[in-house]
């Protein structure tokens, strides 16, 4: 999924390349994307518990196979790297057609929207936790600041959704820097404490200010519209209909694409390397000329920026926000997604976000015990893949191959 950063280690490389002849890359890519999309649809639409459990078991089995036979994983990664265009075109087509493929099931689309917003949040946090090992427990707060900023602008001043997006991002980034600055004097556990305090303070302020609506939150956030098409009205193309949620689905897709592109570009850059360096050894990083304070603050800024986008889309999608949407627990959930998915691996982080959004929804049959089951499953996945579902990969670029 991450072709440029993905490469087999030297010994595995010739073996994987030699096997490349037998199964064409395009076939592998198409099969994985189509089967993946189909299984996801089954998982989302099914009301039968055994079917849901079966899909999960298949996913687990795939992980086990990849753990036992790393060559298979390398082969798949290599295929995606070489058949990049096929992967992007087919993947894009599937993503665009998905709301229609789900037969307009608005509940399934809702889960996907929330999943994508969490994926964006997890990607945002990944810049810190994954790349630079900064334990930031305040991503949920930045999410909330973004949501409240845009909602207040829209409700109070009637500002259009499209203008509130950059405004929310600017405000949240500013606060990101504000919290980033004092936290530079601390590290590890203490840094985590500072961010926890920030998250709690933001939640309390939302709860207690008059102009934020207090515990009642903000209601009546108008639906955005684009070229006269309101996001509340259903989409109709060639007689196929998708419910109003599909509008927000596409908005979330756009946001997620933006996040993935940003993540890729930053990861494969001097900035990504500098973040990695300070994750590995801060003192050594300083001695290579890396301004540690500045790069940590940048990580806070980028995190807040993307989180605010997600917050804005959430606010306009649900139309109603309250402080309880942005508790400290939200930050913990986002952090779990990054850790379970695989730190510093954009694809893994997205899978982690979707998994942890969908599991609690689909395991509702277990009623009060569902969170217990979710936790047990997460622990099981982590036993299968201790470095996260899709751990970070070595970079490969140039270097006179």
């Amino acid at each position: 999924m991450n072709p440029e950063t993905a490469t087999p280690r030297a010994p595995g490389a010739p073996a994987a390349a030699a096997r490349g002849g037998r199964l064409p890359d395009h076939l592998i890519v198409a099969a994985i994307e189509l089967v993946g999309a189909w299984l996801l649809a089954v998982f989302l639409l099914s009301r039968t518990t055994w079917l849901i459990v079966l899909v999960l078991a298949l996913f687990g089995a795939a992980l086990v196979v990849m753990r036992l036979r790393p060559a298979i994983e390398e082969r798949i990664v290599a295929a995606f790297g070489r058949a990049r265009i096929t992967a992007l075109v087919l993947g894009g087509a599937i993503v665009l057609a998905y709301p229609f493929l789900l037969g307009g099931n608005s509940y399934a689309i809702h889960i996907l929207i929330i999943g994508q917003l969490y994926a964006v949040l997890a990607l945002a946090l990944n810049f810190q936790l994954g790349s630079a090992n900064i334990p930031n427990f305040a991503t949920g707060a930045s999410y909330g600041i973004g949501a409240y900023t845009s909602a207040l602008l829209a409700v109070t001043f009637g500002v259009s959704f499209w203008l509130t997006l950059p405004a929310a991002a600017a405000v949240a980034t500013f606060f990101g820097f504000v919290i980033g600055f004092p936290s530079m004097r601390t590290r590890d556990t203490y840094l985590a404490l500072v961010t926890i305090a920030f998250a709690v303070v933001v939640h309390q302020l939302m709860n207690n200010f008059e102009w934020t609506g207090g515990p009642n939150g903000l209601v009546g956030i108008p639906a955005p519209s684009l070229f006269g098409h309101s996001f509340n009205s259903p989409i109709e193309i060639f007689g196929y209909r998708a419910p109003g949620q599909a509008n927000f689905y596409y908005l979330a897709v756009a946001l997620m694409v933006l996040s993935i592109v940003s993540a890729r570009r930053l990861h494969d850059s001097r900035v990504g390397l500098a973040w990695n360096a300070l994750r590995e050894d801060e003192l050594a990083a300083r001695c290579q000329g890396i301004n540690v304070v500045w790069f940590k603050m940048l990580a806070f800024g980028v995190d807040a920026f993307l989180a605010a986008f997600a917050g804005t889309v959430y606010a306009f999608y649900v139309g109603y926000i309250s402080p309880d949407n942005f508790t400290f627990l939200v930050s913990v959930t986002i952090m779990t997604m990054v850790i379970v998915g695989g730190m510093d691996n954009a694809f893994g982080v997205i899978v982690g976000a979707f998994l942890l959004t969908m599991l609690p929804e689909k395991l509702r049959v277990f009623n009060d015990y569902r969170l217990l089951f979710v936790s047990a499953l997460v622990i099981l996945f982590l036993i299968l893949r201790p470095q996260g579902l899709f751990p970070q990969r070595l970079r490969v670029y140039g270097g006179r191959k």
Binding site: T7, R9, A10, S262, R265, L266, D268, S269, R270, V271, G272, L273, A274, N276, A277, R279, E280, D281, L283, A284, A285, R286, C287, Q288, G289, I290, N291, V292, L298, V302, Q392, L394, R395, V396, Y397, G398, G399, R400
Partner: protein
């Protein structure tokens, strides 16, 4: 306009009541190698930490080519042209060998967040160019290291780790390299290889100077022109290796007063 490369004057640092380094001063010219020896805990590494900006000295000055760098933060000292290695090697273990060297070029590359996001072509070209230079640098240092450039740095054997640290330090195109006990944990064969590595680096980079903290007299003997002895945070003597070896104060520092005067 022939200011020495590095000018250290009366450098002192106190940690609470403990004076770790006291009024140490020396000059280092271009193209020079100076070895710093002394018993454990004498303050040698502390001296390095002050020069490289990790510790802020309590008193005294450090000047690089006439420019005062006393108390400058470590990342700016690196940009100014001082690179270093660490006693216990501090590589970026989870990253590739090549990544380590490219990060060493951080001070000599430019692109920031906005370049990476909005001008990816340019940022990527810069990085690729840096990677090519890093590969060449590795190759010039050791074919073996070059062959393993796409492997994780943590997987390297000890001698190669030290070599990679030197490569990373060289990547910033420094004017002064400080090696903190480069031969620690090495056997004689590795130490000999290290000595020839250092000689090769010097031959290829005229003007580059070295400060080397070392316990292994084999290595010190290979660069005998200037040796400084530090004990209890103070400079005992500075001379060539032959003179330092026989100086009674040095023997006292290493063996104790009684052993020398028995």
């Amino acid at each position: 306009m022939s200011a020495p490369l590095l000018q250290v004057r009366d450098l002192t640092i106190r940690f609470g009541g403990l004076v770790a380094v006291s009024e140490v001063g020396f000059d280092l010219g271009h193209d020079e190698v100076m070895c710093i020896i002394g018993p454990n805990g004498a303050g040698k590494s502390t001296l390095f930490n002050m020069i490289s900006g990790i510790y802020r000295p309590t008193a005294g000055t450090i000047a690089l080519e006439g420019r005062d760098i006393t108390g400058m933060p470590a990342h700016r000292v690196a940009v100014a042209g001082i690179a270093r290695t660490f006693q216990s090697s501090r590589l970026f273990g989870a990253l590739t060998v090549l990544d380590n060297v490219v990060i060493g070029m951080h001070a000599r590359t430019r692109s920031g967040v906005l370049d990476a996001l909005l001008r990816p072509r340019r940022a990527r070209a810069e990085l690729r160019e840096a990677a090519d230079r890093a590969a060449d640098l590795l190759r010039s240092l050791s074919e073996d290291l070059w062959a393993r450039r796409h492997e994780q740095a943590a997987a390297l054997p000890q001698a190669d780790r030290r070599r990679l640290e030197i490569a990373r330090a060289l990547a910033s195109e420094p004017r002064l390299i400080m090696l903190d006990e480069p031969s620690s944990g090495m056997d004689d064969r590795d130490t000999d290889a290290l000595i020839s590595d250092i000689r090769a680096v010097m031959a290829g980079r005229p003007g580059l100077s070295f400060l080397i903290i070392e316990h292994d007299m084999r290595l010190v003997g290979a660069f005998p022109e200037r040796v400084m002895v530090i004990d209890h945070g103070q400079k005992l003597i500075e001379d060539d290796f032959a003179a330092v070896r026989v100086a009674p104060r040095v023997q006292e520092a290493y063996l104790g007063y009684k052993a020398v005067h028995a």
